[in-house]
């Protein structure tokens, strides 16, 4: 039997969830034997070339690139998992949701005390940098999500457990008591 295929991505997250995956420590060497990583920071595959069994996504959507990428994952993964607070609810970046984007940009680039008030007033804007969405969207507002793993970040053991179960084609059934939301 061929190995189950796993893809992962980090959208508007802090990479803490991916770091938590690394916290499975030496089991990572076992994991490399058990599953095949497709499009993921783990390897160099940049476009989907085959259907994946499990897609795992950290972070919500804060720019249009995130949205495209998420749709691409939905199309190419049989099961899609939202990993961590940011993916599930937008997380900390979503704290900007009740503030107009313009105000955030002005505070960062015009209001900061390290900026010389005599400088020309510049807010970054260039063809080479992407546009920011009006607010940060959790994943399930954009595509269908099959499983949610809470935590900020979710514990390494939880990620390990979930990965093994899903990759072997089983239903994920984690008792509520095991979830931690911090």
């Amino acid at each position: 039997m061929s190995k189950p295929i796993v893809a992962t991505a980090s959208l508007a997250g802090c990479f803490g969830c991916h770091m938590s995956l690394l916290d499975i420590d030496d089991r990572i060497l076992q994991l490399i034997d058990l599953v095949e990583f497709h499009k993921s920071p783990v390897d160099d595959i940049k476009k989907f070339t085959k259907m994946c069994d499990v897609g795992i996504i950290e972070g919500g959507c804060c720019n249009s690139e995130n949205v495209e990428n998420l749709r691409d994952f939905r199309k190419n993964c049989k099961i899609l998992v939202a990993l961590g607070e940011c993916a599930i609810m937008g997380g900390l970046p979503a704290m900007r949701n009740d503030i107009p984007v313009k105000e955030c940009l002005e505070e960062a680039y015009l209001g900061s005390p390290t900026i010389d008030p005599k400088d020309p007033k510049i807010i970054p804007n260039d063809d080479d940098i992407p546009m920011i969405l009006d607010r940060v969207y959790p994943l399930h507002e954009i595509v269908k999500i099959d499983y949610f793993l809470p935590g900020c970040p979710p514990r390494a053991d939880l990620i390990w457990e979930a990965l093994l179960t899903l990759a072997t084609g089983k239903e994920l059934n984690i008792p509520y008591e095991v979830f931690k939301f911090d």
Binding site: C14, H18, P41, E65, P113, I123
Partner: protein
């Protein structure tokens, strides 16, 4: 025919930056830029939150080195609650925080070297990208991969014991810490089952330094000339000039070692540091006000710290420091790839510091928090794994944050990374009409030397997928390559 080359992680997944290289009709590189494409808006949305949330909130900027943000914010908040500007904590409070920080340095430097850099060094910059990653290392150099994984684990365990969680912990609170080290925790670090004890960790760190020195002695031509340009260097140092990654005064030296700043109190950083905004990047460009925007840019991180410090206060790292300094005859080192060497010496230092702190009886004391008279403003600086990190907050009568200013380590390195990209692109792409994968990887290697958080994905376990196109002035694609 003029051209523009874009080296771009296709998606935000694989990193937060991209490189554009412009070439004129004679195939000369006219401009190379590293664009940072991420924007979060922290400065604005933390306004209105109570100040004591800052240490747990702002760390969510970066899950790669959350402890640095956790502690820098806590140090700024210490000032606000009147617990002094770095020397006011109880011995237990201060030492627990230091232990947390050196645990972080240890895990981050180990991760960076073993997961990210070793594939380039061990497998070669031109190796097949399909194997030129940590999996390739695991398959070909199993022992080394295990070392990398276990060293990271050890550092993470230290963080767990001090911060309460491996990622996004809660240990540091205004004026101190919320727990001390238990006897069981201490013993597990000192006498843990092989390999998870501090002596083994120090031995492995020494091994990593030796591995790099050995590689360097065989490849000095490439390592020394890969990317080299004069730069200013900035970091915190202890008052007596020793390396100190948790607290100190600001010092900056120029490319010849002349001191530009010395003995500067962190609370006064605004007098000395300014930032410039450029339209093509979300990342600002900091500079030393003394020298102005043109000339005042500087490097931070391991390379800078070994240039500013007079000595390292632990024996094994000091020995390596002397060898390292002798290589440039005591002058500042401006070779980007020597950053790896410097980082490994710090890894060794962090291992030694962990041992010293864990053995210190103060760390098990029970006087955890300092109280004082509340103020309205505080600045906290720390030497994060990637360099100096600035946090600055002001609050109102209701204890709400009204102003937050952050200069993160990678931002400090913005100009040097752009310089490095220019240097390498100028050298490799000039006169070339064909792009090879190895060329792209070398541009990345220059950026990677700075261990920027912007390509966390790359940092974590693999390589940024890249797409490079040679485009003429009419936007026609002449050549394209991707991986």
């Amino acid at each position: 025919m003029a051209k523009k080359i874009t080296i771009e992680p296709v998606t935000r997944v694989e990193g937060h930056g991209k490189v554009t290289i412009h070439m004129d009709d004679k195939h000369n590189v006219t401009q190379a830029r590293l664009h940072i494409v991420e924007f979060r808006g922290f400065e604005r949305f933390v306004q209105g939150r109570p100040y004591w949330e800052m240490p747990v909130l702002v760390q969510r900027l970066c899950g790669i080195c959350p402890v640095s943000h956790h502690l820098a914010a806590a140090k700024a908040v210490d000032v606000i609650v009147g617990a002094g500007t770095g020397e006011g904590l109880t011995p237990t409070g201060e030492k627990m925080r230091r232990l947390m920080h050196y645990g972080q340095i240890f895990q981050s430097h180990a991760l960076h070297f073993f997961h990210l850099v070793s594939p380039d060094l061990l497998l070669g910059a031109d190796a097949d990208p399909a194997i030129r990653n940590v999996i390739g290392v695991a398959l070909n150099f199993k022992d080394l991969a295990v070392q990398g994984v276990m060293m990271r684990k050890f550092g993470q365990e230290v963080i767990l014991a001090t911060a309460g969680k491996k990622i996004h912990g809660t240990g540091a609170i205004p004026g101190g810490i919320n727990k001390n080290l238990s006897a069981e925790e201490r013993d597990s670090f000192l006498k843990g089952a092989d390999p998870l004890n501090v002596d083994k960790m120090i031995a492995w760190a020494q091994g990593a330094v030796d591995l790099f020195k050995d590689y360097h002695s065989k490849n000095s031509e490439i390592i020394d000339n890969f990317s080299v340009f004069p730069s200013n260097h900035l970091s915190l140092v202890r008052k007596d000039g020793a390396m100190d990654l948790y607290h100190g005064v600001l010092r900056a030296v120029d490319a010849d070692g002349k001191k530009i700043l010395n003995d500067v109190d962190c609370q006064d950083y605004l007098k000395y540091i300014g930032e410039e905004v450029r339209s093509w990047s979300y990342m600002k460009f900091p500079y030393l006000k003394e020298l102005g925007k043109e000339k005042g840019w500087y490097t931070v991180g391991p390379l800078a710290r070994l240039n500013t410090a007079d000595f390292i206060p632990t024996p094994l790292a000091q020995k390596e420091f002397e060898i390292y300094k002798a290589y440039t005859k005591g002058k500042p080192n401006n070779m980007s790839m020597h950053m790896h060497w410097a980082r490994l010496i710090e890894l060794l230092h962090a291992g030694e510091m962990i041992k010293e702190l864990v053995n210190d009886p103060d760390i098990m004391g029970d006087n955890l928090v300092t109280k004082g008279t509340k103020g309205r403003e505080g600045v906290g600086l720390i030497e994060a794994p990637r360099g100096t990190l600035f946090h600055h907050y002001k609050i109102n009568d209701n204890d709400q944050v009204v102003m937050a200013n952050l200069i993160v380590s990678t931002t400090n390195n913005n100009e040097p990374m752009n310089k490095a990209v220019n240097f390498v692109a100028g050298k490799l792409f000039t006169g070339q009409s064909k792009i090879t994968e190895g060329m792209m990887n070398r541009v990345e290697m220059a950026i990677r030397a700075y261990d920027p958080c912007l390509s966390c994905a790359t940092h974590a376990i693999g390589k940024m997928p890249l797409e490079v196109s040679l485009v003429d002035t009419n936007e026609n694609i002449i050549d394209r390559m991707s991986r």
